[in-house]
């Protein structure tokens, strides 16, 4: 068993076992010793050894304690045994991660944790995910959970040059995720904890023999499905039909080619992910060094991500184990070639009867629609050739990230109950890149200086210092155990974006002046404390408090206190339950806490500032131009959002833990919700200001169950299932508590400034605000005929709130079956009652798309059913039930064990995105915003991997 501590009782001598479970203690005089072997989660074992003059061997066989209960769980600023937890905390370690070609960390746990919804934003390489823990607690402010990587809370702000900041972390370096869900667990993170906290811990070095592990995973990605549009033949039929009513001129535009634009822009993409890591101890100093290299092509042609990661961990115990040092540093370099994603929408809408190439050399040889005036230039309003968009676009992003932390933990030799802990962390990211569009490209052809060249550079950094003292003491006489912890945390954030002009392709002539920007900075400093008290091993109490001070608020409102209290009762220890032999664990947890949200959009909404214009927003006085200074709106009274969460839950285990899980009910109420809200006109320096005006509440149930169905020598079968119910309701979004206040949101294509969703008191956020479609006898929608809901004789003012994108139920299911050296696993997820507005069909689905002068648009095949002549953007016909069941991953592996001089060899085969079952008619039902507008398709990925240890 690696990592077991073996100590000689009564001395300070000892050792830790290496990767093979071996250990050695030297310097002992001959004699009898009492030797103890300890490992968390196992029953400590002591035996008496007689040591002679030669090497004496003492083998220990440790028996596991009651399954998982003794697992150590990482909580804020420290660790706790799982059995001592009072809050809702879920720990997922590497052995339970999702398998397969996973390039960004959060995908490792997608579908694994009840109450945690992870939706990948697109199928692009390195694309991020929308992570929602219990649905989020905010509206305007961020709903992203706080992510802490090796004790460093990382900023939510993105990095230029890559889709997603988390994609700079190599998933292969991650040891565990600990997800803190309720306020009693998160309140120690105070003003950033309302949306839950995800603590990511990376792999550490272990002392022992030098070991090398190598893994390679090679994948092919293929498009699963194209957006349903008319084929060239169908398009010809439609354009010649009487229903479409095309003019002769428009009919004359129909071409003779048969082009499937979507199949032209996608390809089968190859990617390879290779990792090698070295571990061992140099003179007893355990280390782990890993190097990873990912080269991933997107299924959209020209899309690519290359990522090189290096991670180093050093840890050691000094001064007879009283000083522990843990040092982590991760360096990442990414080289991202961005494809022009505008090609996706263009391919959906481009006329399939036109050829790819025009036969002449204009516009790079690509066929383009020309201006109706006949001047020979590309039309301004027509879509561009999808393949031309891809190939006449060169955009590269480069990011560098260094994320590191040093943790020192000192146990006072004269007072073993007292520990001092200090963490110093830093996170520096640089993102830069450029985009070049050649002068021949149709997109920028109509200007004097053709083409386009732009570049960008931005740098964010944060550093953090945490200090705490922890006192731990058993009071055996009163059957009590006490943990007291007090600390102080300081974190500083800095953001800088370099102002850059946009140039013509010649890189000299400026076509757009740089924006004005100021480097932003703020800090959060916070004393915090925690008390854990256990009585009789049955009754547990945890209380925490954090006093956050964020410089994003005025001195009047800077302080925020975030307390929490939780109680747990280990019912299993009561005689009544103790007698039930099949019940191996039962614990009741009750918690309450207040958390905050300070990630509110603008950096300093309280500050009265004057904002300068850039050089293209000036004004002419006489013959001279002057740049301007604008007085910005401000609100000195702005403060934290506050969320009060109550949680009640049970942890249970049967049959010695072979069946275990938990069930939690929660109720969250957010007050002082920050809204960028309309102000009474004329009172502030614009028509809106950030103010604490709203309230919302959410409630739900998280349930999970893990079953070790079969456990024999040859076969083991583990099944996990989780289900979450969540409902969010807006209570108020108006400063005057007016229930009629509504905020339009959810922009859709088909016209500028059009929105489809509404925020309104009494409703779930982001419900669709639409007309109720009337259907004809054939079951088809009648164009422009909507239900007159208010009975005023017209349907003009009859939009209603209908459905929402949030699933009210979502679940995950995973299974892992091992037979001898074979392993077969899969994970599935399902969302129920989530609705999606099919913007692809709504904004293209009318014959009006064939009536723009000088060009034709392709139409979605729904036109064959609807026969709409004008766009019906607000019809609830386009709000579709997007409930789905998706198999995220299926994998099969064979472990050869020790072969050919290798310590181990494992071969795996994987399929990702195996199938989706849904009634949704668009490309993919999983759209976190609820508005399906030409999403980058999530591919199906087939991969083959080899893991070898030397």
């Amino acid at each position: 068993l690696p990592g077991t501590s073996v100590t000689i009782d009564g001395t300070t001598l000892g050792a830790t076992t290496d990767g093979n479970g071996d250990y050695a203690i030297t310097g002992l005089k001959p004699g009898n010793y009492s030797v103890t072997a300890k490992f968390l989660g196992y029953i400590a074992f002591t035996k008496t050894i007689t040591v002679g003059n030669s090497v004496t061997t003492a083998d220990f066989t440790l028996k596991p304690q009651n399954t998982s209960l003794n697992e150590v769980v990482v909580v804020g600023y420290g660790t706790q045994r799982k059995k001592d937890l009072t809050g809702s905390v879920v720990s997922i370690s590497a052995k339970d991660f999702n398998q397969g070609p996973i390039t960004t960390p959060e995908a490792l746990i997608s579908g694994k944790v009840s109450g945690v919804q992870i939706t990948s934003n697109s199928g692009a390489p390195g694309a991020g995910s929308t992570i929602r823990i219990r649905g989020g607690a905010s509206i305007s402010a961020s709903n992203d959970p706080l992510i802490v990587i090796d004790n460093v809370p990382v900023s939510n702000s993105g990095i230029a040059g890559i889709d997603n900041a988390l994609a700079t972390i190599n998933p292969n370096d991650i040891e565990s995720f600990n997800i803190l869900k309720d306020a009693s667990a998160t309140a120690i993170y105070g003003s950033r904890a309302s949306n839950g906290v995800i603590i990511i811990t990376t792999k550490k070095g272990k002392s022992g023999k030098f070991a090398v592990d190598f893994s390679t995973l090679n994948s092919l990605s293929k498009i699963v499905k194209e957006a349903p549009v008319l084929t060239a033949a169908e398009f010809r039929d439609v354009t010649s039909s009487a229903q479409a009513g095309l003019t002769t001129a428009q009919k004359g535009l129909v071409g003779t080619s048969n082009t499937d634009w979507q199949s032209l822009i996608y390809h089968t993409a190859f990617s390879t992910d290779n990792n090698i890591n070295f571990s061992g101890g140099i003179k007893g100093l355990p280390y782990r060094l890993s190097i990873g290299y990912l080269d991933q092509d997107g299924i959209l042609k020209t899309d690519n991500l290359k990522r090189t990661t290096v991670a180093l961990n050093l840890n050691h115990d000094f001064l007879h184990q009283s000083l522990k040092i843990d040092f982590n540093v991760k360096g990442t370099y990414t080289d991202r070639k961005f494809a022009n994603q505008g090609a996706i929408g263009a391919a959906v809408g481009f006329d399939p009867t036109q050829p790819v190439y025009s036969g002449n050399s204009n516009y790079g040889g690509y066929f383009e629609w020309l201006d109706a005036s006949g001047n020979g230039n590309p039309s301004t309003l027509a879509p561009r050739n999808p393949l031309g968009l891809l190939n006449q676009y060169n955009s590269n992003g480069y990011t560098k990230r260094t994320l590191g932390s040093l943790t020192l933990n000192y146990t006072f030799p004269f007072l073993k109950e007292l520990q001092a802990n200090a963490t110093f962390g830093g996170d520096i990211t640089d993102g830069m890149g450029n985009t070049y569009i050649p002068p021949t490209a149709a997109s920028n052809f109509n200007q004097t200086y053709k083409g386009s060249y732009s570049q960008y550079f931005s740098e964010n950094y944060t550093y953090t210092n945490d200090y705490y003292l922890k006192y731990t003491k058993d009071f055996k006489s009163i059957k009590s155990h006490l943990d007291v912890q007090a600390g102080y945390s300081y974190q500083y954030f800095h953001f800088y974006t370099k102002p850059e002009n946009t140039y013509a392709a010649d890189k000299t002539n400026v076509t757009s002046a740089a924006a004005v920007s100021f480097p932003g900075q703020y800090y959060i400093e916070s004393p915090f404390g925690r008390v854990n008290f256990t009585y009789d091993d049955k009754y547990l109490l945890t209380a925490t408090i954090r006093d956050d001070r964020s410089s994003r608020f005025s001195e009047l409102r800077r302080n925020g206190y975030f307390p929490s209290l939780a109680l747990a009762w280990r019912l299993k220890e009561e005689p009544f339950f103790k007698a039930m032999s099949s019940l191996s664990d039962l614990k009741l947890r009750v918690g309450y806490g207040i958390t905050g949200q300070q990630d509110i959009g603008p950096l300093f909404p309280y500050l009265a500032v004057y904002d300068p214009s850039n050089s293209s927003a000036g004004y002419q006085f006489g013959s001279a131009f002057t740049n301007t200074l604008r007085a910005d709106a401000y609100n000195t009274l702005i403060k934290w959002e506050q969320t009060a969460t109550s949680n009640i839950g049970f942890d249970y285990g049967f049959l010695n833990g072979r069946i275990n899980g938990s069930i939690d009910y929660y109720y969250k109420k957010t007050k002082d919700l920050l809204f960028d809200t309309p102000v009474p006109d004329g009172t502030n320096l614009t028509n809106h200001v950030y103010a604490n005006i709203g309230n919302l509440h959410s409630r739900g149930i998280d349930l999970n169950i893990n079953v070790n169905a079969i456990s024999t020598k040859d076969i083991s079968w583990n099944i996990g299932y989780n289900v979450s119910f969540n409902r969010i309701t807006v209570d108020n979004i108006s400063a005057t508590k007016d229930p009629n206040q509504s905020i339009a949101t959810g922009g859709i294509p088909g016209g500028v400034g059009n929105t489809i969703q509404l925020l309104k008191a009494g409703y779930t956020p982001y419900q669709f605000y639409v007309y109720q479609q009337v259907y004809g006898k054939s079951g088809m929608p009648l164009e422009g005929v909507y239900v007159d809901r208010n009975g005023d004789g017209s349907s003009l003012n009859d939009k209603y709130l209908y459905k929402h994108p949030n699933p009210t139920v979502f679940m995950g299911f995973n299974s892992n079956l091992a037979y001898k050296k074979w392993n077969l696993g899969f994970t599935m997820r399902a969302n129920l009652d989530n609705y999606v507005y099919n913007a692809v069909q709504a904004s293209n689905g009318a014959y009006a798309g064939l009536k723009f002068q000088g060009y034709l648009n392709n139409l979605p095949n729904s036109i064959l059913k609807t026969n709409f002549s004008q766009y019906q953007l607000y019809s609830d016909y386009y709000v579709e039930n997007a409930s789905f069941l998706r198999m995220d991953n299926a994998n099969l592996s064979y472990n050869f064990g020790k072969v050919a001089g290798l310590r181990s060899l494992r071969v795996t085969a994987n399929v990702q995105n195996v199938f989706v079952i849904t009634n949704y008619t668009g490309l993919d039902p999983e759209v976190s915003s609820g508005i399906d507008n030409n999403i980058y398709p999530r591919p199906r990925v087939y991969s083959l991997g080899v893991n070898a240890s030397f």
């Binding site: 309003l381 004097t448 927003a617 309309p678 028509n687 400034g753």
Partner: protein, 508 residues
């Protein structure tokens, strides 16, 4: 910890007025707020929210209110509730009506802030003395003019609105409504009060001067009957006369008034500027020029990279001209090739004659300064001499004292002679100078110059059925609409946010 961290290098309100070099940039913002949508040209750092930034521009919304609601303009696009404007089916939730209202109050709030920070006491506290002090007072008077202009638009469009001045602090409170007549009296008194501090007519292009204030007074008085129930035509004559005497002359070639070098014209009294390099935005003139171009119109002839195929006019407007070719009356700037006279389909650009009035080319035919062809150099002539001539004539016809019919006729004929390229063939007789003629003449002269709605209301033709144009009331042939539409609704957002407000009649 009490340490305040602020964005490095950014000016705070506390520091900005200590340095006189900042005064002119702040003043320039008060002007720019009519012309642009934010601090980053062309877009990216908007002034107001709740609507697409390009839509949020003052001038663009003023066009939408004053022109899309009338016989002069109809738009093709499917943007939000824009069709409700021409269909006259708007309500208090119309985002364009809200954007105009928000823009008016944005302008007023910025003006108030500058006036508040430049009181005599503040100037003295900040150590502004000597010539700087004289200039600061002139700037302050210009801010008061711009605020009066914004309130004038509020009176004209919304009637009774909340009232805020420099005496209200920045924050969140519930300003009280003033009646249309009270606001009229306030704007009148403000414009008179600043007369001494404003610069003389034409002292510097782009700046508000005494003549700008007189023109605004003349327009206010001309419409006083509508705003207050009492006519003030004598004062309209008085102030129009002051402007006419101030040294402006008609631009000899009508077309040149709307070109990229119109800043050199001696006719423009007060412009809202646009510049292809330094004053870029998607509202205002960018919208007006691009949206007018479509169909077979060659974008290059308009100095732009492409048309947006949006705006056309109704056949009722076209009928104001006996010759639509522009060969006789040069103001008939229609584009008819490939366009139908009738608007059978509201969503088709080729239905309805297009308008080729504003262009981003100079009088010498040179394209404007923006190499991308997006942003024009063409300024918008908010006030110009021909308008003042017509105000004079109409005020005299309506009984204003201090002027005479013969002078009125001579002014009208000056405008018509210019329209007929120097020929007197289009001149009219004293007998032909009637009020109905004035409405039509203003239509011909001021097409797309954001006067039409106000003019139709003053002549009682905007609502009801005495004048129908295609798609008025949402039907092709046009239909009668309720007279409450003469005043726009106060946007529902402000009704909700300011519970002291009372909605205009006929709206919820």
């Amino acid at each position: 910890c009490k340490k305040n961290l602020t964005p490095e290098g950014q000016l705070t309100t506390a520091s900005v007025y200590k340095d006189f070099n900042n005064y002119k940039p702040v003043l320039a913002k008060l002007y720019t707020a009519f012309a642009l949508s934010g601090q980053q040209g062309p877009a990216g750092n908007p002034d107001v929210a709740g609507i697409d930034e390009g839509f949020s521009n003052y001038l663009r919304e003023l066009f939408n209110m004053q022109e899309l609601t009338t016989d002069e303009a109809q738009i093709v696009w499917n943007d939000g509730t824009v069709h409700n404007l021409h269909d006259m089916t708007w309500n208090s939730q119309n985002e364009f009506i809200r954007a105009m209202y928000d823009r008016i109050f944005y302008e007023i709030a910025l003006d108030n802030e500058f006036i508040r920070q430049t009181t005599d006491a503040q100037l003295s506290k900040n150590g502004i003395t000597g010539n700087n002090l004289v200039l600061a007072k002139q700037y302050r008077a210009e801010a008061r003019f711009l605020r009066a202009l914004a309130y004038y638009h509020a009176i004209d469009l919304y009637g009774s609105v909340p009232f805020v001045t420099e005496n209200d602090e920045v924050g969140v409170f519930f300003p009280k409504q003033k009646s249309r007549a009270e606001l009229f009296a306030y704007v009148e008194s403000e414009l008179k009060a600043i007369d001494g501090d404003l610069g003389n007519p034409r002292f510097e292009y782009g700046r508000a001067d005494k003549a700008a204030a007189w023109t605004l007074l003349a327009k206010l008085y001309l419409n006083a009957q509508v705003y207050t129930g009492t006519g003030h035509y004598t004062e309209a004559v008085t102030y129009a006369s002051k402007v006419i005497a101030a040294g402006y002359t008609l631009e000899p070639n009508f077309k040149n008034l709307f070109l990229a070098d119109n800043n050199t014209s001696n006719e423009i009294i007060f412009p809202i500027e646009s510049d292809g390099t330094h004053t870029q935005g998607y509202g205002g003139m960018t919208y007006l020029i691009h949206a007018s171009v479509g169909g077979k119109m060659d974008p290059a002839a308009f100095g732009i990279n492409g048309g947006w195929a949006g705006l056309r006019t109704t056949p009722q407007y076209v009928s104001l001209f006996s010759d639509v070719t522009g060969n006789t009356d040069k103001r008939a700037l229609f584009f008819t090739d490939g366009q139908n006279l009738d608007i059978n389909d509201e969503y088709t650009f080729t239905d309805g004659y297009a308008i080729q009035k504003f262009r981003n080319v100079t009088s010498a035919g040179v394209k404007g300064s923006d190499a991308t062809g997006n942003f024009p150099d063409t300024d918008f002539p908010m006030f110009r001499l021909a308008d003042v001539y017509l105000i004079y004539a109409e005020a005299v016809l309506r009984g204003g004292a201090g002027g005479d019919p013969a002078t009125a006729l001579s002014y009208v004929n000056k405008v018509r002679t210019r329209a007929y390229a120097g020929s007197t063939a289009g001149n009219i007789t004293q007998g032909e100078l009637t009020l109905p003629f004035m409405l039509n003449e203003r239509g011909r002269e001021l097409l797309f110059e954001m006067q039409r709605r106000t003019d139709l209301i003053r002549f009682g033709k905007f609502t009801g059925d005495s004048y129908l144009w295609q798609w008025k009331g949402g039907v092709k042939g046009g239909t009668s609409v309720s007279s409450n539409l003469n005043i726009m609704p106060i946007p529902s957002t402000d009704i909700i946010n300011n519970p002291t407000l009372v909605q205009n009649p006929g709206y919820k």
